[in-house]
């Protein structure tokens, strides 16, 4: 069933939870939007955890912002200017939804980082756009946010238009 889930994660077990969520989508092609860690770092961590990375396409929104020298842009990654480049991120996600092969899922990591670079209003509108774009194209989505942002109006807003909210990933 196609649905978009908002995961509210504990920052201390953040990556552990990401891995946990990822294990549940083994057969899917994944559009991984990273706003807080360079894609090379995530790939290495996933490999260490024994996760297959062949079906993951990364939209890296942080490397251009923080690294002096960009890692090579491989066939499974594209760089966006930064987490503040909402238009660039939207184009990348849009292209991914339309051109990624087979059954796919969008993995957005994370709304909390996006909120550090953009107004709540902009992030709210962007989230609504993405969730409805996914719905219209029959694609599932996972959106991550930190527990510390749970009480923010924007997160309450996002909770109202996703299909499910999971506050703690079961271990």
């Amino acid at each position: 069933m196609v649905k978009t889930i908002l995961y509210i994660l504990n920052p201390e077990k953040y990556f552990e939870n990401v891995v946990k969520i990822f294990r549940g989508m083994a057969d899917l092609h994944v559009i991984y939007v990273t706003t807080n860690k360079p894609y090379t770092h995530i790939m290495n961590l996933f490999k260490q955890e024994g996760l297959a990375v062949e079906k993951i396409f990364f939209v890296d929104c942080i490397s251009k912002e923080v690294l002096n020298t960009l890692p090579a842009e491989t066939e499974n990654c594209m760089f966006v200017e930064g987490p503040q480049d909402i238009v660039g991120i939207s184009f990348a996600i849009n292209a991914g939804i339309e051109h990624m092969p087979g059954d796919k899922i969008l993995f957005f990591d994370s709304l909390s980082t996006l909120l550090m670079y953009n107004d709540e209003f902009v992030v709210g509108r962007f989230s609504n756009f993405i969730v409805n774009k996914l719905r219209a194209n029959g694609v599932s989505g996972v959106i991550l946010a930190l527990e510390s942002d749970f009480e923010k109006d924007i997160l309450k807003n996002v909770q109202s238009f996703v299909d499910e909210v999971i506050k703690n990933v079961k271990h």
Binding site: F57, A95, M100, F121
Partner: protein, 119 residues
């Protein structure tokens, strides 16, 4: 100043400030496009210029110095013309970037699709 000129002048000032507001609203829509701020500022200055001319025409600003009049009629139009031109020129580049970005994203995913098909 005739009443038509007065009403027209007031409408022009109001419309210019409304245009500046919308220009600013576009900037808040996407903060990457800072160039819109130059356009917004240009429109505000244009509105101020029009307001100044209107007030002078109404005789509401008696005794203004020649320097002020010169600055308002010569300097200000030059400044807002430059701001509008620079802002729109930068925005043109931004729209071109969006187009490039969109087609690059599309190509990247197509290439990814192709490479995965071969495996």
């Amino acid at each position: 100043m005739s009443s038509i000129e007065l009403v027209s002048g007031i409408v022009q000032v109001v419309v210019l400030f409304i245009a500046a507001y919308f220009s600013y609203a576009i900037h808040t829509h996407n903060r990457v496009s800072k160039a819109w701020l130059a356009v917004s500022t240009g429109l505000v200055l244009m509105g101020l210029h029009r307001l100044f001319s209107l007030l002078v025409g109404m005789g509401a600003l008696p005794g203004q110095s020649i320097d002020t009049a010169n600055m308002m009629d010569v300097g200000l139009p030059l400044i807002y013309s430059l701001l509008l031109a620079a802002g729109l020129m930068y925005m043109k580049g931004n729209f071109e970037r969006f187009e490039i970005l969109e087609s690059r994203a599309r190509e990247k995913f197509k290439a990814f699709h192709k490479s995965r098909k071969g495996k």
